[in-house]
């Protein structure tokens, strides 16, 4: 392992993380709900599912954030790592996996670890481990 010092952004990543944590804090104390993105989206896909209004409001905020950002600054660069069919496969795996696993990076990783849930710790270790292994296979064994 070498550290990618040129790509490492400690301060903006820490500050962005604090904003994400404050958002989760606001949603649990203010709206009484957990900021788990996969759960918020997934809950809308059940006919007659609970709490449609706040879910749509939260997702609206998430989608509008880049527009608000663009009023004051240039959007940060983003380089995709996958295209075409691989994106579809990845999206399906993320959709099915987060729903069976009851959460993603936000629900288990941020909120679950913040409430010291052993269940979320196991989930976070599982998806991080699978992510590390997948990138290892793709980049270093298949050489993509």
């Amino acid at each position: 392992m070498t550290i990618a010092w040129d790509a490492f952004t400690p301060w903006s990543s820490l500050a962005g993380g604090v904003l994400i944590g404050l958002s989760a804090a606001l949603l649990i104390l203010g709206s009484g709900r957990v900021a788990g993105i996969s759960g918020i989206v997934g809950g809308l896909l059940r006919p007659g599912g609970p709490d449609t209004t706040w879910r749509l409001a939260f997702l609206g905020g998430l989608l509008v954030a880049p527009l608000l950002w663009r009023l004051f600054a240039v959007l940060p660069e983003a380089q995709p790592v996958a295209g075409g069919g691989l994106l579809v496969v990845a999206g399906l795996l993320v959709g099915i996996g987060t729903r069976y696993g009851s959460g993603c990076t936000s629900g288990h990783g941020v909120c679950g670890l913040s409430r010291l849930s052993p269940r979320s710790l196991v989930a976070t270790l599982a998806f991080m481990g699978a992510g590390f292994a997948t990138v290892y296979v793709v980049r270093h064994l298949l050489g993509a």
Binding site: I20, S23, P80, Y100, S117, V135, V138
Partner: protein
């Protein structure tokens, strides 16, 4: 009130993801690439987020009502079972392949990114498949 607070929370969440660099799949995969040129940024995002959210969840555990007046709903499941582990492993594979998890994918959709459109449509299809497979049966 509950929805208004949720809207502000969603905005904050999205701005945080943009500032953190996590809306860039290359940065996420840079973190997951332990054997390569490793970018530790994602670890600091998690540290900052947990540091800010932990006090709130500590308070939330002692309350039953949110500021908006509605019930404060914390997850009640505690069991560590096969769906939790297998689902999370499946999610991790997809995350490693494209560098998108649900939050950053939706924010990227808001930036007008074409790959994010494809990813989010597939992700919603995956969630719909789960909803159909686990539908309540009469």
């Amino acid at each position: 009130m509950q929805a208004l607070i949720a809207l502000v929370a969603g905005l904050l969440f999205g701005l945080g993801l943009l500032l953190s660099g996590m809306a860039n799949p290359t940065k996420v995969v840079g973190f997951l690439d332990l054997a390569g040129n490793w970018d530790p940024s994602l670890a600091l995002v998690m540290a900052g987020a947990i540091g800010a959210a932990l006090p709130a969840f500590t308070i939330a555990r002692k309350r039953s009502t949110a500021w908006a007046g509605c019930a404060l709903a914390l997850p009640s499941a505690t069991q560590i079972d096969a769906p939790l582990v297998l689902g999370s492993l499946t999610f991790g594979v997809g995350w490693g392949l494209a560098g998108y998890c649900p939050g950053p994918a939706l924010v990227s959709l808001g930036t007008g990114s074409a790959p994010a459109v494809v990813f989010v449509l597939a992700m919603i299809a995956g969630m719909a498949i789960h909803a159909w497979l686990t539908r309540p049966r009469a």
